[in-house]
Structures are given as structure tokens and as C-alpha cells.
């Protein structure tokens, strides 16, 4: 769980950084998108790799959850948590939100099934117009709200996930414990802020077509 999760997190981080090029304008983003699609072997290796990582992560999560449910057949009548964070107690829920969001996101912007109007549109330089597609999408308040909700799920999931993974890998040291403890919330905050900035910038017409 920890290893597959950390690999997925590193992808999410790069994904966010790549997307930030929306602030550099259509040329930069569309050129970047074309650059990624120019290497079909690498692109499909990454896609298959990510898909298998996600499947592995989900299968392990379900198996562990079922086993852990069996470990306590009779629940407590009264239960008070002392220090378990809200994020750590909602990993299954935030994970499910994330899964639904990723499916929607892939159908929406990768496959172009939900909004096919931009699937094959090219910009002035003959690249696929990713920039125009994003601007078109996030100007729609429903799409923007849906993506913001997805980011909420992502932030919640990551804020427990990263710190927990480091602990599972046995990373613990008196000098670095503060760093390990804050790694999860920090990664979550950076990724979510980056992504939310894109959504809001388009929605508030700061970035436009």
C-alpha cells in the first residue's frame, strides 16, 4: 500500500507541476502536451504503469479493510478518538471520492467522452488545444465545482497517506521526525494549492482563451 501509494503521489506531484504551465499560456501548455504525446512508448508505459499501480493500491486496500473489519466483530458502543486525525479516519471515503473523480477526469479531459467538443481541436501551431480545452472546461461552474471537490478528496487522502507511508517504510529518526510528520500535510497542501490555482484562475477569468 505504502509503496504503490508513494509512487502514485509522485505522479500526482509531477502532474500538478506540468499543469501549472497553463499560466505560461497556450503555447507552453500545448507544446508540453505534444511533447508528452510525442513519445508513445513512454506515454503508454506510464499509463499502464499508473493503471496497474492504482489497481494494486485499490486491491490491497480492499483486502486489508476486509481483514481489519474481521479483527473487531463487535463494535464499541461508545468510541472516542484521542489523536487519530480526521484524514486518517476517512481514508476509505476520501479514496473513493478520489477514484470517482479520477474516472470522471480521465473521461473528461483525457478521453474527451464527457465533453467531446475539444477532443480533436488544434491550436494555431497545429498542436492539440489542451489550453483551450481547460479554459473551456473550468469556465463551467459545475465542472469547476466538481474538480474542486476532487481536490478536497485528494488533499484529505494525501495528508494522512504520505506520513503514514513513511512510517510504514520505517523512516523514523529523532532529528527528522518533525519533517516526516509534516510531510503528508505539506505535500497535500502544495499539490492541492497548485491544482486549485489552475481551476480558480480559469473560473475567475484570470487565465482566459
Amino acid at each position: 500500500m505504502a509503496l504503490s501509494g508513494l509512487l502514485l503521489v509522485s505522479y500526482v506531484g509531477f502532474h500538478m507541476l506540468g499543469n501549472l504551465q497553463v499560466f505560461e499560456g497556450a503555447h507552453a501548455l500545448n507544446g508540453y502536451a505534444a511533447f508528452l504525446r510525442d513519445m508513445p512508448i513512454l506515454l503508454w508505459t506510464a499509463r499502464i504503469g499508473l493503471l496497474s499501480l492504482a489497481v494494486l493500491h485499490i486491491v490491497l486496500a480492499i483486502r486489508l479493510t476486509l481483514r481489519n473489519r474481521r479483527a473487531r466483530p463487535v463494535a464499541y458502543a461508545v468510541r472516542e478518538y484521542r489523536q487519530a486525525s480526521f484524514a486518517s479516519r476517512t481514508m476509505a471515503a476520501s479514496g473513493l471520492v478520489l477514484l470517482l473523480f479520477i474516472i470522471f477526469h480521465l473521461l473528461h479531459l483525457t478521453a474527451g467522452v464527457i465533453d467531446p467538443s475539444f477532443a480533436d481541436r488544434l491550436d494555431a501551431e497545429g498542436y492539440r488545444d489542451v489550453y483551450g480545452e481547460i479554459v473551456h472546461a473550468f469556465q463551467n461552474p459545475f465542472i469547476a465545482a466538481l474538480y474542486l471537490a476532487g481536490q478536497l478528496g485528494l488533499g484529505l487522502h494525501l495528508s494522512h497517506a504520505v506520513t503514514s507511508s513513511l512510517q510504514t517504510l520505517g523512516l523514523e529518526h529523532a532529528a527528522f521526525n518533525r519533517f516526516f510528520k509534516t510531510a503528508g500535510p505539506t505535500v497535500a497542501l502544495v499539490v492541492v494549492l497548485g491544482n486549485v490555482a489552475i481551476i480558480l484562475a480559469v473560473f475567475l477569468r484570470i487565465v482566459r482563451g
Partner: protein
């Protein structure tokens, strides 16, 4: 002081349990939680009813016998103590207090609030021991152990095996218990001979007993009467990784010197 107690009553392991409400009158604020239960039981006995069964022994927080989930928290609202060290002045007069046993598949209820914690003993049998040769005692200061090493080992060794970590864990995992035992033995030279096998056999034993897995929520650390840190769980995970690497150099089927006792 007076309290309303919701206590879990269950006649036997396979019987159906339920909450029964009792009134505790004339409770002194200086009474410990177990003394308060004693006085309730005296009342029940006087009325010819079956007293509430709960486990206790030393009543000074070192034996690990008392095992009560008080208002949803193992060992009650105070940190770093066992149920027996909790005093009634901690509660407001007239409070409603819910008392439950440890709940885990690996800890079947024997009666009322008493659970069978032998699963922890079986985990210890699987690897929580060291090899000591018989014969003359070793001279003092032959094995040099640094102060830091000794202190850290002692922090882990302070585990009294009460099982509150299991009771508090969402997944009823015994990870903090196993991690404390593995860490304490791995930190000291006497524990080195079995170091590599111990971490695997104890983890396997934990899985066999039906405990869940660790989700790093750190609830165990918060209720531990000995305040054992979850840092030992990270250390355990390191030991496990190390064992996976070192093990390849060991014979596949080690002959267990303690096979007859398991």
C-alpha cells in the same frame, strides 16, 4: 458523588452480551475506578445478584491486568495510566459512565469485562525470547551498552502487555505491542541471536491470532499506559525490512529450540 454506570454484562464467551445500567451511590472522590466498581459489586452481592466480573491484580499500574474501555477510551480519560490508577474525582458528579471490555476477535470475552489475552502470550512464545546459556553468571560490564541504547530499549521494555493498544486501534492491531517487544530485544546484545527470525515469527503469530493491521492512526500511543511511542512501530518496520534482506543467508527451515512449547 454518584454515577450512572452502563456496564457490559456477558455470561460467557458464547453468550449474548448487553449493557446493564447500575447506580453507584456514596462514591468518594478519592476512590479509584476499580474501588468504585468494588463498591457497586458489594451492593450487587448484598442484593443476591451476580457481581460484575473485571480483571485486576496489582492496582498500582504495573501488572497490565485491568482492561476497561471507559467512555470509549481504553484505560479512561487520563493519559499514561491504567484503569486502576484512575480516580473518581476525574469525573463530574452525576456523570454517566459507559464501561466496556477490550473488543477484538483475538480477545474473546470470558465474562463481563474480562477478556482472554493469551493471544499476546502466544505472540511472545513465537519469538519474544532470548537464548541464555546456563552456567556461571557473566561478569559485570562484559557487554557494553550505551546509555542511549539502554534508555531506548527500556522505553520499549516498559510495555506491560495490557492490550490497550489493541483495544484502541480501529483495526484491533497489536502492532504497538509487537513493535515494543521486537524493538526492546533488537536494541540489546542479548537479543541479537534471534533478531532476524524474531521479527517475522512474531508478526506471523500476530496475523495468526486474528489481529488487524496498522493504519498509522497512532491511537495506540495515545492510550498506552506506559506511553510507548509509535516510533517503535517504524523501528519494527525497519527490522522487518532488514530481516527480509538478511534472511536470504539463513537456512530455510530453522529448527526451533522452543518447538515443544508452542
Amino acid at each position: 458523588m454518584r454515577f450512572t454506570l452502563n456496564i457490559w454484562r456477558q455470561n460467557g464467551p458464547d453468550e449474548k452480551g448487553r449493557f446493564v445500567t447500575y447506580e453507584a451511590h456514596d462514591v468518594s472522590s478519592g476512590m479509584s475506578f476499580l474501588e468504585m466498581l468494588d463498591s457497586v459489586n458489594q451492593g450487587l452481592i448484598a442484593k443476591g445478584e451476580e457481581p460484575v466480573a473485571f480483571e485486576q491484580d496489582c492496582r498500582e499500574g504495573i501488572c497490565g491486568s485491568c482492561s476497561l474501555v471507559i467512555n470509549g477510551i481504553p484505560h479512561g480519560p487520563d493519559r499514561g495510566i491504567t484503569s486502576c490508577q484512575l480516580y473518581m474525582r476525574r469525573f463530574s458528579d452525576g456523570a454517566v459512565i459507559t464501561i466496556e471490555p477490550w473488543r477484538a476477535r483475538a480477545f474473546p470475552i470470558i465474562k463481563d469485562l474480562v477478556v482472554d489475552r493469551r493471544a499476546l502470550d502466544r505472540i511472545m512464545q513465537a519469538g519474544g525470547y532470548i537464548s541464555v546459556h546456563t552456567g556461571g553468571a557473566v561478569d559485570g560490564n562484559v557487554l557494553l551498552i550505551s546509555k542511549d541504547q539502554a534508555e531506548t530499549a527500556m522505553d520499549a521494555a516498559s510495555c506491560i502487555g495490557c492490550g490497550a493498544c489493541v483495544a484502541a486501534c480501529k483495526n484491533a492491531s497489536a502492532m504497538l505491542f509487537v513493535a515494543a517487544k521486537v524493538s526492546h530485544l533488537a536494541l540489546l546484545p542479548q537479543g541479537k541471536p534471534e533478531r532476524t527470525r524474531r521479527v517475522k515469527t512474531m508478526l506471523e503469530a500476530m496475523d495468526r491470532e486474528g489481529f488487524g493491521s496498522c493504519g498509522n492512526q497512532n491511537e495506540c500511543e495515545a492510550v498506552c499506559p506506559k506511553r510507548i511511542s509509535v516510533r517503535f512501530i517504524a523501528r519494527f518496520n525497519r527490522e522487518y525490512l532488514r530481516a527480509g534482506i538478511v534472511e536470504s543467508g539463513l537456512p530455510a527451515e530453522p529448527e526451533s529450540p522452543h518447538a515443544e512449547s508452542t
